[in-house]
C-alpha cells in the first residue's frame, strides 16, 4: 500500500530566550508521519515533547523550519496562514492526558462542538457523534455531563471529540497517563485501530514503554534531535 504523507517536518527548531538565557529545545527536527500510522513520541520530561506536538498543532510558534500538514505547507519560518485555529478545527484532533471536556456541555455537545463550529448542520453532526459514541460504547451516556462519567468513559468521549471533525492528524499528549494499565492498553489499541480504519496519522506522547509495542514507530527526542528506533 502506498504511503501518503500526513505530517512533514523539515529542520524545525524551537528555542527560548536569548543571550545567557538562551535555551534550545528542538534543533533541526526532520521527519514524516504517514496516514494510518501510530507514532509514539518518547523523551524524558522537559525534553520538548509537548512543545513539538504543539508546534505541529499550530499552537506554539516554531523558531524556524517548515511544516506540512497533509499537502498544505503551513509554516515556512513563519506561519503561512493567519487562521491557525481553522487549521486545528479542520485538520487536527487533540487528545490530552486528562479528558479536558467542557464541564457545562453534555457528552454529545462536547463531541459536536468543533463540527458545529465548522458549520456542519446540527443534525448531521449529532448523527456522526452518535456513531462515534457507539463505536466507543458510550452512546448511552450521550446526554450525560462529564461529571457523571468515569475517567475511562470521559477519555473515550475525549477521543470521540478528537475524531468528530474527521481529522487527518491526531495529536495525543500522554492520553494514557491517568489510566491504569488495562485501560491504557485498551486506549492505545483503540488509537491503533482508529489510525488504520480512519487513515489518520497519530502522534502519541507517552512515558509508558509498555505501550510502545502497539505503535508502528517510536520517535525519540535525544539531545534536541529527533531519532527513530
Amino acid at each position: 500500500m502506498k504511503k501518503v504523507q500526513s505530517i512533514r517536518i523539515e529542520n524545525l527548531t524551537k528555542s527560548f530566550g536569548s543571550g545567557d538565557s538562551f535555551v534550545s529545545v528542538i534543533d533541526g527536527a526532520s521527519f514524516t508521519v504517514n496516514k494510518g500510522e501510530l507514532i509514539a513520541l518518547v523523551a524524558p520530561s522537559g525534553a520538548g515533547k509537548t512543545t513539538l506536538l504543539m508546534m505541529i498543532g499550530c499552537v506554539v510558534d516554531p523558531t524556524s523550519g517548515q511544516i506540512w500538514l497533509g499537502e498544505e505547507k503551513v509554516y515556512d519560518n513563519h506561519w503561512l496562514t493567519n487562521n491557525s485555529r481553522q487549521i486545528r478545527r479542520e485538520k487536527i484532533g487533540f487528545i490530552f492526558q486528562a479528558h479536558y471536556l467542557i464541564p457545562f456541555l453534555n457528552v454529545i455537545e462536547n463531541v459536536t462542538l468543533v463540527p458545529q463550529t465548522n458549520k456542519i448542520p446540527t443534525k448531521e453532526a449529532n448523527a456522526h457523534a452518535m456513531e462515534l459514541l457507539k463505536y466507543f460504547d458510550i452512546a448511552d451516556k450521550a446526554y450525560n455531563k462529564p461529571s457523571q462519567l468515569s475517567g475511562g468513559q470521559n477519555q473515550r468521549v475525549a477521543i470521540a471529540r478528537a475524531l468528530a471533525n474527521n481529522p487527518e492528524i491526531i495529536l495525543a499528549d500522554e492520553p494514557t497517563a491517568a489510566l491504569d494499565t488495562e485501560r491504557s492498553i485498551s486506549v492505545v489499541k483503540m488509537l491503533k485501530k482508529i489510525a488504520a480504519e480512519q487513515n489518520v496519522a497519530i502522534i502519541m506522547v507517552t512515558h509508558d514503554e509498555r505501550m510502545l509495542e502497539y505503535c508502528d514507530r517510536v520517535m525519540k527526542i535525544e539531545a534536541k534531535k529527533i531519532v527513530f528506533e
Binding site: V59, F104, L113
Partner: protein, 382 residues
C-alpha cells in the same frame, strides 16, 4: 450551533440566580432612588395642584409661602375681588407644626383656610373619610400619613381639634402630611401671643399684641377669557406685594427648592449605576477566570474567539437582564415601606434597563479581554 452561554448558565443556575438577585437588589435601590426623586417632584406640586388657583399674592421681595417667610394683610383678598378678571380670591396660611398624641410626635404642615370661603384647598378626590371643615374653630382634616384617625382629638397650641376628615396622599412640598384647619385658628396659632408675652412686652414698651389679620398668601382664580399673565403683571405693579402665577410658583417649588435635592439624588443614582457596572464587571471577570481552563481548551481545539466572546457577552447581558428583573421586583416589594412618597414609573425603569444593558456590554469587556489574551497551552500546562 450550541448556545454556550445558556449551557454555562444552566450548569451553575443556582449560583447565577443568586448573583443576579444580588445585583438586582442594587438596581432595585437605583430604582428606589429615582422613585424618591419622582416622589419629591410629585410632592412639590401636589399642594399647588390641590389648591388649584391662578395667582399668588405674597409679601414683596419674597418668593412666596413655600420658599420664604411671607406675610401680607388678609384684606388683600377683598381688594382683589374688585379687580377686573378676578373670579375668586381667598387668604391662606401655611405653618409647620409638631403634633403629639400618637406614639411619636408627628411633623405636619398646617394649611389654614376659610371653610366658608370660595376656594377650598382640600381636593375632594383626596378626602377618603369624614368631611371637610364646617366650623370656624377647632376642627381639622388631616392626612392619613400622619397616623391620626377620625374623631381623634389633637392638641394644637392651647386648644383641642377634632379630626372630622381624612385625606390620602396630601403632603407638603417637603413630604410632610398636611393638616387643614380654619383660617382663624391658623392665624391665632401663627400670629397671636400668649397673655404673658403680651404683658411682658408691654412692660418693655413693645406693642406685641400682634396683628392676627395677617396671612401668608392670598390666592385668586381668574375668570375665563382673561389672561392670567396680564392680570399678574397688572397686580405686580402694586406696592408692598409680590405676585406670581401658579406656573411661577410651581417653578419656584420644583426648580429652586427641589433642584438641589434632585441633583443630590441624581448624583447618588449615577454613582450606584457606576458601582453596579463595576460589580457586574467583577462578577463577569470572576466567572471568566473560573472558566479559563475551558476557554483555553476551546481555543486549543480551534474554537474561534468570536464564539467564546459571544458566550461572555451573552452571559453578561443575561446577568444584566435578570438583575434588572429582580431589581424591579425588589423595588416594588419595598417602595411602600419608605416614609416619604416613592413613585416608580415605567419610563424610568425602561431608561435604567437601557443603561444596564449598555453597562453590561461595558462590563463584559473585562471578561472579553481575558478571553482574547488566554493562552491555549494553559489547558495542557504547556
Amino acid at each position: 450551533m450550541i448556545n454556550l452561554a445558556q449551557k454555562d448558565i444552566s450548569h451553575t443556575l443556582g449560583k447565577f440566580i443568586v448573583t443576579a438577585m444580588g445585583v438586582g437588589m442594587l438596581l432595585g435601590i437605583v430604582l428606589i432612588m429615582i422613585g424618591v426623586y419622582r416622589g419629591m417632584m410629585v410632592d412639590a406640586e401636589k399642594l399647588l395642584k390641590d389648591i388649584s388657583v391662578d395667582i399668588w399674592i405674597v409679601q414683596e421681595d419674597t418668593l412666596g409661602p413655600f420658599a420664604e417667610s411671607s406675610r401680607i394683610h388678609e384684606d388683600f383678598k377683598d381688594t382683589l375681588k374688585v379687580i377686573e378678571g378676578i373670579d375668586k380670591s381667598e387668604a391662606l396660611t401655611f405653618q409647620n407644626l409638631q403634633l403629639y398624641g400618637l406614639d411619636k410626635p408627628v411633623r405636619v404642615t398646617a394649611v389654614g383656610f376659610n371653610p366658608f370661603g370660595s376656594i377650598n384647598p382640600i381636593n375632594s378626590a383626596n378626602l377618603i373619610a369624614g368631611r371637610t371643615l364646617q366650623k370656624s374653630h377647632y376642627e381639622a382634616v388631616i392626612s392619613t400619613e400622619s397616623g391620626f384617625k377620625l374623631q381623634d382629638k389633637i392638641k394644637i397650641g392651647r386648644n383641642y381639634f377634632t379630626v372630622v376628615g381624612l385625606t390620602k396622599g396630601t403632603v407638603s412640598s417637603g413630604g410632610e402630611p398636611l393638616i387643614y384647619i380654619s383660617l382663624k385658628d391658623a392665624q391665632e396659632l401663627q400670629f397671636s401671643f400668649s397673655n404673658a408675652i403680651i404683658r411682658n412686652d408691654r412692660e418693655r414698651g413693645i406693642n406685641a399684641s400682634g396683628d392676627i389679620h395677617t396671612v401668608n398668601t392670598v390666592v385668586a382664580t381668574v375668570k375665563e377669557g382673561y389672561d392670567v399673565a396680564q392680570i399678574a403683571k397688572k397686580l405686580g405693579m402694586w406696592k408692598h406685594v409680590g405676585v406670581y402665577t401658579n406656573e411661577e410658583q410651581t417653578t419656584i417649588l420644583t426648580k429652586n427648592l427641589v433642584e438641589r435635592s434632585s441633583k443630590q439624588i441624581g448624583l447618588f443614582t449615577a454613582i450606584l449605576v457606576v458601582v453596579s457596572t463595576i460589580i457586574i464587571g467583577l462578577i463577569i471577570y470572576t466567572m471568566t477566570l473560573e472558566k479559563m481552563k475551558e476557554i483555553s481548551i476551546m481555543k486549543l481545539i480551534g474554537i474561534p474567539d468570536s464564539i467564546i466572546v459571544k458566550m461572555i457577552v451573552q452571559e453578561t447581558l443575561i446577568l444584566g437582564f435578570f438583575a434588572f428583573i429582580f431589581g424591579n421586583i425588589f423595588s416594588h416589594l419595598i417602595y411602600e415601606k419608605f416614609p416619604k412618597r416613592v413613585v416608580l414609573e415605567a419610563p424610568d425603569a425602561l431608561g435604567l434597563f437601557v443603561v444596564i444593558i449598555l453597562a453590561s456590554v461595558l462590563a463584559s469587556f473585562v471578561g472579553v479581554g481575558k478571553v482574547i489574551h488566554a493562552d491555549p497551552t494553559v489547558a495542557i500546562g504547556g
